[in-house]
């Protein structure tokens, strides 16, 4: 297992500094929550780590530098993410979605042939995310929460070592949130997990460590209790809620 080390990360959009010199270390196997008010730069940070946004500084995962590599190469190095609005392939079935996620390393011949059986990783992920009965449904017909789980399932079969989840429980019911949190625990057994989340209850229940971002900078970092006790955090963030 590897950890994530971010050094002096900066992302600038047309002169606007969205991420302003962030340093971040996430230990292997950690569940790190990334919180902060809207516009703090959380999503942009994940965009930079996954190669979507251009950034300066350094992002190392294990021994590999991620910055400057194209998105698909970073993905192949074991870094996976979900999006704030669930993006699954709506016209493909749940099974097809997972099968594609599992297949980036497949050879040409395998690609040109039909899928004869369900890969073991895919069927176990179907069980894990509770969508085994719906595997032949088009993903577009799934409920919102189910799409989020499908996305997580896609990360599982993709066999990523670092998961970056952007607001995975937004719009979920209480039960669904708990189920998702449990899922994260299981998943983090052999992976490093970074979760962006607004929901404070959810964070208290499932976070290992927390980083607070504000206006593109790290405001505070530590355990849930430490962060909650930090006066600076209370002022800009928790104080509001």
């Amino acid at each position: 297992m590897s950890g994530l080390v971010v050094r002096d990360l900066r992302v600038v959009f047309d002169g606007f500094v969205a991420v302003d010199g962030v340093d971040l270390e996430v230990a292997p196997g950690d569940i790190r929550f990334l919180i902060g008010p809207n516009g703090a730069g959380k999503t942009t940070l994940v965009d930079a780590v996954t190669g979507l946004a251009r950034a300066t500084g350094s992002v190392r995962f294990g021994d590999d530098e991620l910055l400057g590599r194209p998105v698909h190469r970073i993905a192949r190095m074991g870094v996976g993410r979900t999006f704030q609005t669930a993006t699954v392939f709506e016209e493909l079935t749940v099974l097809q979605n997972l099968d594609i996620a599992a297949g980036a390393g497949r050879g040409v011949l395998t690609m040109l042939r039909r899928r004869r059986s369900v890969p073991a990783a895919v069927s176990s992920a179907l069980e894990t995310i509770g969508l085994a009965d719906l595997r032949d449904r088009p993903a577009g017909a799934l409920a919102h929460g189910q799409k989020q789980w499908l996305e997580i399932g896609m990360l599982l079969v993709q066999d990523v070592k670092l998961l970056l989840l952007d607001e995975p429980v937004a719009g979920m019911s209480h039960d669904e949130r708990d189920a998702t949190g449990e899922l994260l625990r299981v998943v983090s057994a052999d992976r490093t997990v970074v979760v962006i989340e607004h929901d404070m209850d959810f964070m208290r229940s499932f976070a290992n460590t927390v980083t607070v971002l504000h206006a593109g900078k790290v405001l505070s970092e530590g355990t849930v209790a430490q962060v909650q006790a930090d006066p600076a955090v209370q002022q800009v963030y928790l104080g509001v809620g």
């Binding site: 959009f13 047309d14 999006f83 993006t87």
Partner: protein, 295 residues
């Protein structure tokens, strides 16, 4: 030396024509993202407006002047009708819009054939535009080219002022930049779309009037210019007028220079290769509007 200057002038005047035919598109395609293949037929409608008006107003100069606003209105109304009947339903499907409007352009071409006949027709140019201005013995600038250049620059100026300083312009830019936000801020996005489309299509009509000065007009004249117009906007970049302006003159000059040293057909291919090469460097065109949508 004069050869180069005279080729440059040719280039600038080709650029002015490109700019005129592309200017409307830089609104409808560049700002709204609508791929309207019938834009070329709006140009044709503008050209035929001159032809029809000359039946009524015999003086070529007056008919040309009157044709400018009339063609703007005719083509603009055609655009509004098209937007209202079809394009409005297809905003989420840009590629399908392309095909649907191609169908519309086929129908409009055939209508022109049925009304005006298939062969090209000639309009009369006013005497004041048929002459030349002689600068040196080798360097002769034709009046009609100068007129088109002036017209193109005036159109750009008018459009820029409209976009920047009128409330319609501000609304148009608001809708382009964030449609949902504009809608919740109380801007009637549907009406703004229709007005934008009116102006963009109207500019096609004006371009059509200008084209009557350069040669005969006919039902297929739109097809001949539409691709060039789209290439200008693609290379210029979505959402910026100045990109289209710069690219139009650059392409005009390039074409005239390549044409001078080879042939017209090689120049066309040269322009295509140049654009593909250019897009390697700037895939979103010269100027870009950043968005963070995944699509």
């Amino acid at each position: 030396m004069t050869v180069i200057v005279s080729q440059l002038f040719t280039g600038v005047s080709i650029g002015a024509v490109l700019l005129l035919i592309a200017l409307g598109l830089s609104l409808t395609f560049g700002q709204m993202g609508v791929i309207n293949m019938a834009h070329g037929e709006f140009i044709m409608a503008g050209a035929y407006t001159v032809f029809v008006l000359q039946k009524v107003i015999t003086d070529a100069g007056w008919s040309l002047l009157v044709a400018l606003p009339v063609a703007f209105a005719v083509a603009g109304l055609m655009g509004v009708l098209l937007e209202y009947l079809l394009i409005r339903r297809l905003y989420a499907r840009p590629l399908d819009t392309l095909l649907v409007t191609w169908g519309v352009s086929l129908i409009l071409q055939q209508l022109a054939r049925d009304i005006f006949g298939a062969p090209n027709v000639q309009t009369r140019a006013p005497d004041s535009l048929t002459g030349n201005i002689k600068i040196t013995d080798d360097l002769v600038l034709s009046n009609n080219r100068l007129f088109i250049l002036t017209l193109a620059l005036l159109a750009v100026l008018a459009l820029t002022l409209t976009l920047r300083y009128t409330s319609l312009g501000r609304r148009m830019r608001a809708v382009v930049q964030n449609r949902d936000l504009a809608a919740v801020s109380g801007i009637p996005t549907g009406r703004v779309d229709r007005l934008t489309f009116f102006i963009g299509s109207g500019l096609a009509g004006v371009a059509g009037v200008a084209l009557t000065l350069l040669g005969p007009i006919g039902p297929t004249m739109g097809t001949n210019v539409i691709i060039d117009a789209f290439l200008v906007v693609v290379a210029g970049g979505i959402g910026h007028l100045k990109g289209s302006v710069i690219v139009a003159f650059a392409l005009g000059t390039l074409q005239s220079l390549v044409e001078y040293s080879t042939t017209v057909s090689v120049a066309k291919v040269g322009v295509f290769v140049a654009i593909v090469a250019f897009l390697q460097w700037r895939p979103q065109g010269l100027f870009t509007l950043r968005t963070r949508s995944l699509a």
